[in-house]
Subunit: 220 residues, 2 copies
Amino acid sequence: MLSYTEENYLKALLKLSFQNEERPEAGTNEMAAYLGVKPATATDMLKKLKEKDLVTYKKYGKILLTESGKKNGIAILRKHRLWETFLYEKLDFSWDEVHEVAEQLEHIQSAKLVDKLEEFLGFPEFDPHGDPIPKANGEIPATAKTLLSEIKAGETCKVAAVKDTSTLFLQYLEKLHITIGTTLKVIEVIAFDGSLSIQIGSQEPRSVSMKFAESLFVQS
Amino acid sequence: MLSYTEENYLKALLKLSFQNEERPEAGTNEMAAYLGVKPATATDMLKKLKEKDLVTYKKYGKILLTESGKKNGIAILRKHRLWETFLYEKLDFSWDEVHEVAEQLEHIQSAKLVDKLEEFLGFPEFDPHGDPIPKANGEIPATAKTLLSEIKAGETCKVAAVKDTSTLFLQYLEKLHITIGTTLKVIEVIAFDGSLSIQIGSQEPRSVSMKFAESLFVQS
DNA sequence: TATAAAAGTTAGACTTACCTAACAAATATA
DNA sequence: TATATTTGTTAGGTAAGTCTAACTTTTATA
């Protein structure tokens, strides 16, 4: 049985490992920063996680999740994303409101609850941000890796996921009527600053920044 | 902001006050027993709750919730019963499984979540056990006070709520196909031991004990 | 490669929620 | 009403998770 806090550390390590797939190990400070605690605190917890065989690490070395640690982390991520989907689909929460509440809901302990919730939602593969929802067996559905900024002028694609999940970005997307599945046509790419002219659905073309184009995953 | 534990103490005090409406105050040992902690622990917490103006009490005296304490307690009860309803109605949990998970869910902090959940469930007035669900303003719907044991032979009534929410009793009810709303006709009352012959819906009459009849609230 | 900077650890302290053991007050009963 | 029992409190201790301050190791750079 893992504590609320231990679960958060595992989830953080899992997320950090996703950020850099070739280098899945994390550092103490990195982890502490991610969780909003001091490095000393992270060191303490690391010892406990190692004791429980959830991470491998040695003093001054890098941190890596063990199989068990990864499995537990994925289970939490699964719950998080299922709850996000529930809040968005069933309770009309907006894109940018779901995360905070799901942070709490992900710690509810009940295997039955998770599985029933998944069934109730119709076994969704992706959450409201387009992130893949791990299956009960730990499998994670394949996910789009192409950024909007990689699409050439004249080509069409569909929004698959958001890379940046900040409130500011999500609210901007909402304002532009962009959601998962929206069709985007790249009209023109401005070499000078990397900005794009895109057509959103059947709207009039409009310009978006390079930063914007690097924050959206698409399926071409 | 109340801690998980503080919330549980408030809920316990509220429940205890319901148990004896003429004497809504509780004792330290009573409270400790209800929460499964030692009296010394309860005393400690009491001091904290008093500090926060959630209870009135003086050394060696009785404990009473303040208006603020009551309001907070009711909010938690509201969440608990809404979640129970969700689990039962939407996720197919059985009568006796909902409580344990709702004990966790009731501590999720999000005003929007509670209200949206209530709306999603169609503003239910009673939870799966027939207990009233407090409204957002703290109002608690009126509830049946008549026990099945008070019904006279020949009279018909409807199951309104369970007084005993133990797993054993709930599972027994399920076996008898009794649920909230089921019509019961009292065929005969045996003076010797208080047992009853009742007709459940359109089933053949059968006998139930006095203990049983004192564990069900009905509407006549 | 020597040293400065960055990264990580240790020691000691605090808070919350719990405990046990010893004590004090209130209540019940002989 | 005196005493025994029940009820409640205090004191001191523990574990989890956090902190700051001082220290050590690793890495980067002059």
